[in-house]
Symmetry: C2
Subunit: 360 residues, 2 copies
């Protein structure tokens, strides 16, 4: 088992990564202060793991709420179902919410915990690779709004995160690949060595080899934790994680939530950002192909939707509502080179339009 | 004009109290960082003051949203209307929300600001006495849930508060009295001298004499700010503000939101807490009558609803869902004497039942 600490002063918390961790309540006990546990899961994950998790909390008062599965249910209305159960069971401020599921469950449970009685504790048990390497670090929680993704939320750190790689055994291949998009992203934005390690290890990750998974997850979480520790509320550095996300969110939202998985949007969106970086002269044709190759190896889309489905104007309109917009300028994360990203609003608007129209 | 600072480290903010403050944008300018202003008001206050406030922000991009007036609209669904307008107008993270209204508008705008893009700035312009002396200090924001009051929310401090006593000229008498319940509360829990000052000055407050209003508001805000500075997240001392609130919330909720004003519930609820304090031997018959007298002088109810409308079991059930419940025990704020309150879970349950049945 690996233990990694996200350093955030009094909000610091541990991430445990390994096999067979969900049999071990001793790991969690020191972090739980109250006696009431609310497990939040969805219709896909609950049949697989809820019974096991309930058993884990045998010494506590346990209630659960099962939400419908999918990004399209990540809204205020469905969030309210979590409050319904907590209040109906008279859960008090000392209770703990447990997120058992992927990124959507993590984001919703975290925001529910941030808001329930103005803030209770929560534990994350991420069951997708994407949630393990992304939403488990950094405390970003929230729901979507009909007009934009993650528009409503809070920064709320979990009290601990348990990443048991056993749960990936039931994860479908498409979801595993979607998670790899974020893993590859960490290499691209700040860790050339990790990127090169990934170039050699994607096949083992696709085969779910435990030791390789644990290493990839640990290095991803460590990469994210290092930056989050320096910039909890996303003032500058943290924005680097959004490589491919401004384009990717536009694709996800423009195509209708659920059609493109988040990781798929990130993959194609990252390639758009890399294409723009190439137009700027930062990325060579050779490095461009190297990045295409690693996403393709991970069975991820490298091309965005066609011009009929996603015309440039649709991108620009959706991107203008992005959270990274400042004073009307869409700020983009671009690459200086493989292993180094930067945030900028200082690019020629024509280059953005060229990217959106040419790179299809 | 009086200026008072709520001391909360990097979240410190000023409260300005005086006449004719809403003509003066220079007061606000130093606190606003962006260019986008979203004014949130309701159908009662907007016709009276929205035009004036819009004029105040003439140098900014101003949008507004008008919510229906009343505690019954303080829920997630109506909250979403604030997000609708902010997102439709592409408001970014540097925007500022302005709460123009009473406590409901302040709580909802504050929570919307806490959650919009995971946190934007907000300014409070409270237009009721209650909001001026209560919700303007401390950063408690939130909405109600069908099963309980203020169950969903956040701690989110405003960047500044403008209390212009001119706005009280349009406040109806019943609302003014409701505000006085909270003013009297500050005297009862921690400021005997202020309580005695109030015993002499209630008539001038009811007549809305500006200098007396300003003094009462300032002393109330100062009392609250002193405690909030020591206990921002309500771990212990802050709970003292809830004198009368556990009973009062049960009355408000049990009778159906909107029938009893919050301040009316607090008045009757405080008398229930004072009655229980008398049963404990802390409060003499004479002091009990003195407290009855001051609430009556302020035209506030001193008796809770009758046993048919609010049987004891209904209180106990509603109170069990209160945010102050710890490990199943209803913690109450009681008086040691006039000017000194304490929080306790260590009382005989029979005394609580006696209070609920005897004091009607």
């Amino acid at each position: 088992m690996k233990k990694l600490t996200v350093e955030l002063g009094e909000r610091s918390y541990p991430i445990f990564i390994g096999q067979d961790l969900l049999q071990n309540i001793e790991l969690l006990k020191p972090y739980i202060t109250g006696t009431q546990i609310l497990i939040v899961s969805n219709t896909t994950v609950a049949p697989l793991y809820l019974a096991q998790i309930e058993k884990l909390f045998v010494d506590y008062t346990v209630k659960y709420v099962i939400l419908p599965d999918g990004e399209e249910y990540k809204n205020l209305e469905v969030l309210n179902k979590i409050f319904d159960v907590a209040i109906a069971n008279k859960f008090d401020r000392s209770c703990t919410f447990v997120a058992l599921g992927g990124g959507v469950i993590g984001d919703m449970t975290g925001f529910a915990a941030a808001s329930y009685q103005r803030g209770v504790s929560f534990i994350q048990i991420p069951t997708t690779l994407l949630a393990q390497v992304d939403s488990s670090v950094g405390g970003k929680t929230g729901v979507n709004h009909a007009f934009g993704k993650n528009m409503i939320g809070a920064f709320h750190q979990p009290i601990c995160v348990i990443i048991d790689t056993n749960v990936l055994s039931t994860l479908e291949d498409r979801q595993l690949s979607a998670g790899l998009a974020e893993v590859i992203k960490y290499g691209l934005i700040g860790d050339l060595e990790f990127f090169e390690w990934l170039e050699d290890n994607i096949p083992y990750l696709l085969q779910k080899t435990p030791s390789v998974l644990i290493e990839a997850i640990e290095r991803s979480c460590q990469n994210k934790a290092d930056i989050v520790a320096k910039d909890e509320k996303e003032n500058d550095m943290r924005a680097l994680f959004n490589l491919g996300h401004t384009f990717g969110h536009a694709i996800e939202s423009g195509m209708g939530y659920g059609k493109w998985l988040h990781g798929e949007g990130v993959s194609a969106g990252t390639m758009q950002a890399v294409y723009l970086s190439k137009l700027l002269g930062n990325i060579s044709e050779q490095d461009f192909e190297r990045i295409v190759a690693i996403f393709q190896q991970a069975n991820l889309p490298v091309l965005p939707p066609n011009a009929v489905e996603m015309p440039s104007e649709k991108y620009l309109d959706l991107m203008a509502g992005d959270k990274k917009v400042q004073a009307g300028v869409i700020r983009l994360v671009l690459l200086k080179k493989i292993g180094e990203a930067f945030v900028t609003g200082d690019y020629s608007p024509e280059l953005l339009t060229t990217t959106l129209t040419e790179y299809r």
